[in-house]
């Protein structure tokens, strides 16, 4: 077999997968987005821009997604970084494996069930009742953007911890010693050595969490009580309740475009941040 043939053969499974599972469905959605809703719902072929003209009716859903997805990503990062730092740098190797397993354990239960548990923690008889006993009255947590944010951080934390952990774990400890030898304070060492070297991990973690959050629908549905609506929720509604596949496709295409734009801005930002070094890769 020629070199070329071997290459083609090796790439074929991934190529077929991408074609059947990504390109074709996306094409269907693209075509549907110019169609019309059937009389009893569904899709009838047509060529109209009406669905796109209707997009402002879902502005709030886009706004919620574009605010809460980055906010959730940042909140997850702020909580995950110290944890990953502790696990990779400070923790004794004896405990490291067990602690890492503890980070993964929640993944053994469905996110649906774990989010449901938060209904009770944030509901009237949970945290608010506890706060009331120390004199803070009338706090509503469940079905607010805050509840959704808590659910997001809780659900996505491991996805943020691991890439950062990996990049910190690979970090050459001799660099830290060298920095200290040359007179840096621990804070300066962290800022000038550790943090820049963990940028690839941060970038990967943020990317993973952010992209998944843009399509999130379960957590807002459960902890937002139908009041904190993401684009994902609007899509579920359009396909499963009002059965307007054409409009749903237009909203989905718009989400894909919004995602491409935000992600490419983000990539540019990250590559500038780590531009001085060559070893910055996103995956």
């Amino acid at each position: 077999m020629t070199e070329r043939g071997r290459k083609a053969l090796l790439l074929a499974p991934a190529g077929i997968w991408l074609l059947v599972m990504l390109a074709l469905p996306l094409l269907v959605v693209f075509v549907f987005s110019f169609g019309e809703r059937g009389a009893a719902g569904g899709y009838v072929p047509a060529f109209t821009l009406e669905q796109y003209a209707n997009l402002p009716a879902r502005w709030t859903a886009f706004k919620n997604t574009l605010i809460l997805a980055p906010l959730g990503t940042i909140a997850a990062l702020v909580i995950a970084y110290p944890l990953a730092y502790f696990l990779a740098v400070r923790c004794s190797p004896k405990w490291r494996t067990s602690l890492l397993i503890l980070v993964i354990v929640p993944f053994w239960t469905s996110i649906l069930i774990r989010s449901y548990a938060w209904i009770f923690i944030l509901g009237g008889r949970g945290l608010p009742a506890l706060l009331e006993s120390i004199g803070i009255d009338d706090i509503r947590l469940i079905n607010t953007p805050f509840a959704v944010l808590v659910g997001i951080v809780y659900g996505y934390l491991p996805l943020m911890v691991f890439p950062i952990f990996v990049s910190l774990d690979k970090l050459d400890k001799r660099l830290l010693e060298a920095s200290a030898d040359l007179g840096s304070t621990p804070w300066r060492t962290f800022r000038q050595v550790t943090l820049p070297l963990s940028v690839p991990g941060i970038a990967t973690g943020c990317m993973l969490v952010f992209i998944l959050l843009m399509g999130e629908f379960l957590i807002p549905a459960i902890l937002g009580g139908g009041k904190v609506f993401f684009v994902g929720n609007a899509l579920v509604d359009l396909f499963l309740q009002s059965r307007n596949w054409a409009y749903g496709s237009a909203v989905a295409m718009t989400l894909v475009v919004v995602m491409l734009v935000t992600v490419s801005i983000y990539m540019k930002f990250i590559s500038r941040l780590g531009g001085q070094r060559e070893d910055v890769s996103l995956m």
Binding site: A39, A40, G41, G42, R58, K227, F239, Q241, S242, N244
Partner: protein, 387 residues
């Protein structure tokens, strides 16, 4: 058996039975803790007539039947009995709206054998060629004459039978009266919405369901529950958007927050109202005097059902008046079947939640087919939710 169960009080037995019916304990736990398992085992060997005699040999109708239905709408024990009698396991999918059921069937490949459509959807299913005409020879327990006609006639389209009646009920609202500070219990939809935006702000729930949420908003202005008039829908939308910031949630799963006190008032179906009222008498079930929805649910078989024989067997089993009576006792939705009602206790048949006074009942409307398929109503609710 190694455990000594001792004896069990009547009250404890009933508590265990309710826990078992609600699915919070397993059958094994129930039989063990009540001693019924032991009793049945002993009796069973002593009296051969008590040994189960399957109506079908196991495997005749396949090993499973898939049922798409509504929340809190069956007696789990009946499904177990069905499995014991036929060998077919009942797999239950729960849905929140007729729209969602229609969407699944339209998309194809639902895999359902039996589903539970509401009266006003059946003509659409027939028009879209999504359900099959029923062969009554396979439903010996179906007796058309024993059903109250207004709750069974939607099952036939152009003289052809497509669906047989399950239960009927009303859509009103449930209100926790202990939070009213002595004010009288509201009796109208106008009061429902006004209270939502004032005293009960942040404590009210509406269905995630266009028919009832829009319909009951239309009632605020005295319009028809089924209105598809543009101006009337615009009024309803304005009311919904004004009320939205005051809502606790938009969800059809309202029992848990009502029970734990997070929500104080909610749009509510008969059986949920009854179930909550039994456990917490301060939760009243109210039918708005302006009207609202009267509905009737049916059993039907979707086209292409993978286990057709099992589908017929399950429907026929659930139509058996004795089985049906157990269903009613478990879920609290009235049956339109005179044979079933004959087996129910008198208190239940006189219950004001299940069987509302005639003047309240007469003000109600059945949902209309046009309401289901009207694109403006569908989009209105989707807009309200994403607002």
């Amino acid at each position: 058996m190694t455990k000594d169960n001792g004896t069990i009080s009547k009250q404890k037995f009933m508590e265990e039975l309710r826990r078992y019916q609600k699915g919070s304990v397993t059958r094994r736990h129930f039989l063990g803790v009540t001693g019924l398992g032991m009793a049945t085992a002993v009796l069973g060997t002593a009296i051969p007539g008590l040994r189960p005699r399957p109506a079908f040999a196991a495997g005749d109708i396949g090993d499973r039947v898939i049922l798409a239905t509504w929340p809190n709408y069956h007696d789990e024990m009946n499904f177990e009995a069905f499995t014991e009698a036929t060998g077919a396991h009942v797999q239950v999918n729960v849905f929140g709206s007729n729209e969602e059921m229609l969407a699944k069937l339209q998309a194809g490949g639902s895999g359902w054998d039996v589903f539970v459509p509401t009266n006003y959807t059946i003509t659409t299913y027939v028009g879209e060629d999504l359900i099959i005409p029923l062969d009554t020879s396979k439903l010996p327990n179906y007796d058309a004459g024993s059903f109250e006609q207004r709750f069974s006639d939607a099952g036939s389209v152009d003289g052809q039978l497509y669906a047989v009646p399950k239960n009927w009920g009303t859509t009103g609202f449930a209100v926790n009266t202990s939070k009213l500070d002595g004010a009288p219990t509201p009796t109208t939809w106008k009061e429902f919405w006004d209270l939502t935006m004032e005293g009960y702000s942040g404590r009210t729930m509406v269905h995630d369901y266009q028919l009832t949420t829009i319909g009951n908003a239309l009632k605020y202005f005295g319009y028809s529950f089924n209105s598809v008039d543009e101006k009337e829908l615009a009024d309803a939308e304005k009311l919904l958007l004004d009320a939205k910031p005051h809502l606790f949630a938009i969800s059809s799963d309202y029992q848990p927050p009502m029970r734990n006190g997070d929500a104080w008032m909610t749009m509510c179906w008969t059986g949920d109202g009854k179930q909550m009222n039994v456990d917490m008498p301060e939760i009243a079930y109210v039918l708005g005097t302006e009207g609202g929805e009267l509905w009737s649910d049916y059993y039907a078989i979707p086209k292409g059902a993978p286990h057709m024989d099992a589908a017929y067997a399950l429907i026929d089993f659930l139509l058996n008046p004795e089985v049906n009576a157990k269903e009613v006792l478990a879920h609290g939705y009235p049956s339109a079947d005179a044979r079933t009602n004959a087996l129910l206790p008198k208190e239940l048949l006189e219950d004001p939640i299940l069987y509302p006074a005639a003047d309240l009942l007469n003000a109600l409307e059945f949902g209309a087919a046009a309401t289901l398929t009207d694109p403006n109503r569908a989009e209105l609710l989707a807009r309200f939710k994403s607002a």
